[in-house]
């Protein structure tokens, strides 16, 4: 009977196309917007995600997000170093400054000042140059998207000179660092340089980056640091989560993406529901014939559900393929949407939503089929 159900489905290519289009569009919209949302809010935590070999981040108790830390006194670094389980601790400064080129182009950049000695917290993915190049005078490492913005069309190469707050900066390396949420350009430099490029008050320390002793549990060390110093301390993963939660709670991003995703679902339900109801209506007489020749209502319901699930599966596959193709196209080194991707969790959620859409869209059709009077076959 399922074979007959599928032949009925594929035997009406126009309605099949309508059904697939509705589900594929809905899936595409939900998956694309879902991935976009994840990519966008994840940017706020890129600074944490990109830092290599850091187990625990220590910050001022008032800090709510990694992108806007409340400055701490320099002395906090030494207090953290004294906590049991801390193998090493290094200062880390985050600041914002404007880069200006000789060609009068400018861009606002997030300056990440890393410990002059250990270079702890640096992004390890260098396209041009090495982290060691940062030890040279006035040296900065810029991300390749930032380079392309400041020197469009030029090949990625070191030696470019910039002006930052009336100070000279030389591009010695180019990284694959992902952009932040608030600032699109990421610059790594030594701590001493960063403080000079972005002058401020007396307390400038943004974070203390901790490497835990071998065998020590980072979460336990973080708790110990908090209790002994009164500072806020989180593992890298916990700080990422805290930062993302802050963005979700304090911006309108989640509701606006939520509305678009909900619209995608509503359009999916309406288009699919309407088309599926038309499809079943057109086939009511055939279902009635089947009922007349002894097919039970439940078996017919099974046929309708098979048709719905097959349509959902194919439509979902098309929609997901479209969303994947979108993210594959935009996740390029020099794209503004670099770092955006389609997480499997989004794909799984959209799959669940698609099944729900199809089930919801099938309700009217199912009710009609269950209430179908087989005697209708005698009416001309």
């Amino acid at each position: 009977m399922l074979g007959i159900a599928l032949k009925m489905l594929f035997g009406d290519p126009v309605k099949l196309a309508g059904l697939l289009l509705g589900i594929a569009f809905s899936t595409l919209l939900m998956a694309q917007q879902g991935g976009f949302f994840i990519g966008l809010i994840s940017r706020s935590a890129n600074i944490v995600m990109e830092a290599q070999d850091v187990d625990v981040w220590v910050m001022d108790p008032k800090t709510e997000t990694a992108e806007a830390p409340t400055p701490m006194r320099d002395v906090e670094l030494y207090r953290v170093r004294g906590v049991e389980g801390v193998a090493s601790a290094a200062p880390f400064v985050q600041a914002t400054a404007t880069l200006r080129t000789a060609e009068r182009r400018s861009a606002t950049a997030g300056f990440l000042g890393i410990d002059d000695g250990t270079l702890l917290g640096i992004n390890p993915r260098f396209v041009v140059g090495t982290p060691e190049d940062l030890r040279r005078p006035d040296a900065i490492a810029i991300d390749q998207l930032g380079f392309a913005r400041l020197w469009p069309g030029e090949p990625l190469k070191p030696g470019k000179v910039l002006e930052v707050n009336d100070r000279r900066a030389v591009v010695v390396a180019i990284t694959e660092a992902l952009p932040g949420f608030a600032v699109p350009v990421v610059v790594y430099t030594r701590l001493s340089q960063a403080l000079a490029y972005a002058p401020g008050g007396r307390n400038r320390l943004s974070f203390v980056l901790v490497q835990t002793a071998p065998g020590a549990d980072p979460a336990e060390v973080a708790r110990r640091i908090s209790s002994q110093t009164g500072l806020q301390a989180h593992t890298s993963r916990a700080l990422q989560r805290k930062t993302i939660d802050y963005v979700i709670a304090n911006t309108g991003i989640a509701p606006s993406f939520g509305v678009v995703i909900a619209l995608g679902a509503v359009v999916g339900v309406l288009v699919t529901g309407l088309t599926f109801t038309l499809f079943v209506n057109d086939n009511l007489r055939q279902f009635a014939v089947l009922k007349a020749v002894g097919v039970s209502g439940w078996r017919i319901l099974g046929m309708v559900m098979t048709q719905a699930i097959v349509v959902a599966f194919i439509g979902y596959a098309f929609g997901l393929w479209g969303a994947s193709a979108f993210f594959d196209a935009v996740d390029r080194p020099l794209s503004d949407l670099k770092g955006f991707w389609l997480p499997w969790q989004v794909a799984a959620l959209v799959a669940g939503a698609t099944v729900a859409i199809v089930l919801l869209a099938s309700v009217t059709a199912i009710r009609r089929v269950l209430a179908l009077d087989p005697a209708v076959v005698f009416r001309s």
Binding site: G3, K7, M8, Q286, V293, G294, A375, V377, F378
Partner: protein
Amino acid sequence: MTRGVIKSFGTGDTRAQVLRGVEFDAQAGEMTFLVGPSGCGKTTLISILSAMLTPDGGDVTVFGVEPVKLRGAKLTDFRMRTVGFVFQQFNLMPALDAAENAAVPLIVQGVGAGRARKQAAALLDRLGLGAHLDKYPAQLSAGQQQRVAIARALIHEPRLVVCDEPTASLDATSGRAVMEILKSIAVQKNRAVIVVTHDNRIYSFADRITFMADGRVVRTALPASLQEYEVA
């Protein structure tokens, strides 16, 4: 056969009694025609006989079974195994080819698709459609479609075959051809064939004609009186 069958549709002021105590007999091995003006209750009667409608009262017996008393799986099993249908509009499934359409009742009974198709092909061949097994309904003439429908009605060897205006959508030649097939293949010793029709051109195929009017059987003409009726 039915005894004192009554059936109404609607409620309150719109309630209409369609059957008013129908006494009807059809014999195995015979083709019984059910004729009468539109609205006299013919279709309602065959719907009740084929267990698709439940009467409000009276007795219905089909080969010793009282379909009124059947519920759930027993009811669908009765329809599946006991009754075959031929409709005015053929009601073939457009997405299935001729052999698949004819095989539907076997597939419903759980016969494998390959075996069902083979049996359907053999029957369609007997009906003169051996060269059209792979054709879809839209590729067949009206007469050919009705022959596919007849194959579907007979493939599972039902004991009761109900035909609702089987020639109404056909021209005279195709209509006669369809009736010849029904007469030669459908009518068997252990099978009753009931034909609802308005088409007096095919009355000659009947073994017995039951006339209905206003929800009652008013007369049954036996073969001996058939010619007299045709003249009248």
